[in-house]
Subunit: 141 residues, 4 copies
C-alpha cells in the first residue's frame, strides 16, 4: 500500500436516491472519484493540475461490493488509498462507511495514465509518484 | 415557431427515479437535451457536427413546470420544437407526455451560439438556420 | 423574503462536467436541492424529518439562468433563501457563486407540500412555518 | 448461461459525457440497468412487475472493464444475458459495443432477491425463474 486510508466525508443528496429508497448503486463510482480528487489535493498534487499539464488518469477497471444501503442526508465517509502503484498504472481502493462506522461498500478502481493529446500511455512523473506515495494528513475534511 | 413539435420517445430508467418513487426533477433537462439532439438529427444537421465544426450551443436559461410525475419504465414522449430563432440565439420548447398522452411537464431552454475556441458569440451559419427552420418528418423514432 | 441567504459550499465533481469542459446545466438543480437540505438542517428542521413525518415537498417549477460556467474542482457557494411562503407553497431562490464570488447562476424552485400517502396538498405545520421563517446562522458549513 | 445475449440499443446523451470528451465511467452501470429492464420485458416479466409484487432485485456486486471510450451521439449496443442463476441470486453479464461492433466495455452485476417490505432474502418464484431462463427474441429494439 502506497499510502494509508484517507477519509472524505460526503452528505448523501436526495438526487442520489432511487425508488428503492436508498442510494443508487451507480452513485458509488462518483463518490470514489470525489474521494480520489480530495486525496490528490491532500497529498499536494491536485488532479486538476494533472489534466492542466496534459495527463489523464483513465479508469480501466471498476469493481464495487455493496453491503448495506446508504440513505438520504446521511454523512458517509469514503476512505480512499493507493493500493498499487506501477510506472503507468495505479490502483485506488475504497471503503464507504455510514454515520456510525458501519461498512456500506468496498471498491477498487484501476487506472492508466495517458497523454491528453495523443491518448498514449504515459509514465508518472517523479512529482506524481512522490505524491501518490505520500502519507496524507490524518483528516483534511 | 420555426418548426412544428417533434416527438422523441424515451424509456424511463430506474436510475432516474428518486425515493419519492417518481422521476427526479433534474432528469427533465437531460431529456430535453436528448430531444434536441434527435431533432437536430431529424432536420439533417446533427448537433455532434456543430461541435465538430467549432460551434457550441450554450444553455443560458432553463425553465420547467412539473405537472404530473413520470414513473420507472414508462415510455414518455418529449415533444420538442424551435420556439424562437434569432441571429445568435435560439429557444427550444418542450412538452413531456406520459404513455397515455397526459401532460407531465413543460419547459423551455434558451441558447447562445458561441465559438468553441474563443467562447465568443457566433452567428448561425445559413445551413444551421435552414436546419432550425426545417420541418422535421412527423416521427423519426 | 422569509429568511436571509444561507451559504452552502460544494466542491465540483469530475462527473458533473461534460464535454464542453464545464459543469453540465442539469447539475444546478441538484446543487439547489443539496442547498435546500442544508438550509433545512440549519434552521432546525431537516427535510429528512419532513418525509419521515409524511410530508413531501414536491417541485412544481424550476428556473435557472446560467451566467458563467463552473469548472471541475472549484469550490462553489450556493446561496439559498426562502423567497416566498404561503400556506401550502414555498419558493426558494438561489445564487451560485464561483471561488472569487463571481455570479455563475441564479435560480428559483417552487414547491407544493403534499401528503406522502394520499398525494394531496397539505398545509405547513406551525413548526415547518416557523423553521422556514427562521434566520439561519450566518454560515454553518 | 441461462439465456443468450440480448441486444439493447442506446443513444449516448450529451449529459453522459465528461470533460475528457467521452462517456463518464459511472454511466455504464446505468446502461447495464437499462439493458436488464429491456431483457426482463423481452422475456415476458417486466422488472416493474417484480417490484409491484413486492420483490426487489438488489445489486450486491458490480464490475466493469473499460476498453475503448464511447462518445456523444453514438448508438451503442449493450448485450445483456443471465450468466448464473441460483435460488435467490442471479448474475447478469454485459458487453457494450460501439456503432461498428468494437468492444467498448464488459461488465457483470450480481443480485440478491429481497422482500420489499422485510428486506429479507427471497427465492425466485417459478414464473421469475422461467423468465430468467427464457430465450429472448433475437432483437426486440
Amino acid at each position: 500500500m502506497a499510502n494509508p486510508p484517507f477519509p472524505v466525508r460526503l452528505r448523501v443528496r436526495y438526487a442520489e436516491t432511487d425508488q428503492m429508497g436508498v442510494v443508487h448503486h451507480a452513485v458509488y463510482p462518483v463518490w470514489f472519484e470525489a474521494a480520489r480528487t480530495e486525496l490528490s489535493r491532500a497529498v499536494g498534487l491536485p488532479y486538476s493540475q494533472w489534466e492542466a499539464e496534459g495527463a489523464l488518469l483513465m479508469v480501466t477497471d471498476l469493481s464495487c461490493r455493496f453491503r448495506k444501503p446508504a440513505r438520504y442526508d446521511e454523512l458517509v465517509t469514503v476512505w480512499v488509498w493507493v493500493a498499487e502503484l506501477a510506472s503507468r498504472r495505479v490502483v485506488f481502493a475504497y471503503r464507504v462507511e455510514g454515520p456510525d462506522g458501519t461498512l456500506l461498500a468496498e471498491g477498487e478502481t484501476r487506472h492508466l495514465l495517458v497523454d491528453r493529446h495523443t491518448g498514449r500511455p504515459l509514465a508518472f512523473s517523479p512529482a506524481m509518484r512522490e505524491a501518490l506515495r505520500r502519507q496524507p494528513p490524518p483528516d483534511a475534511s
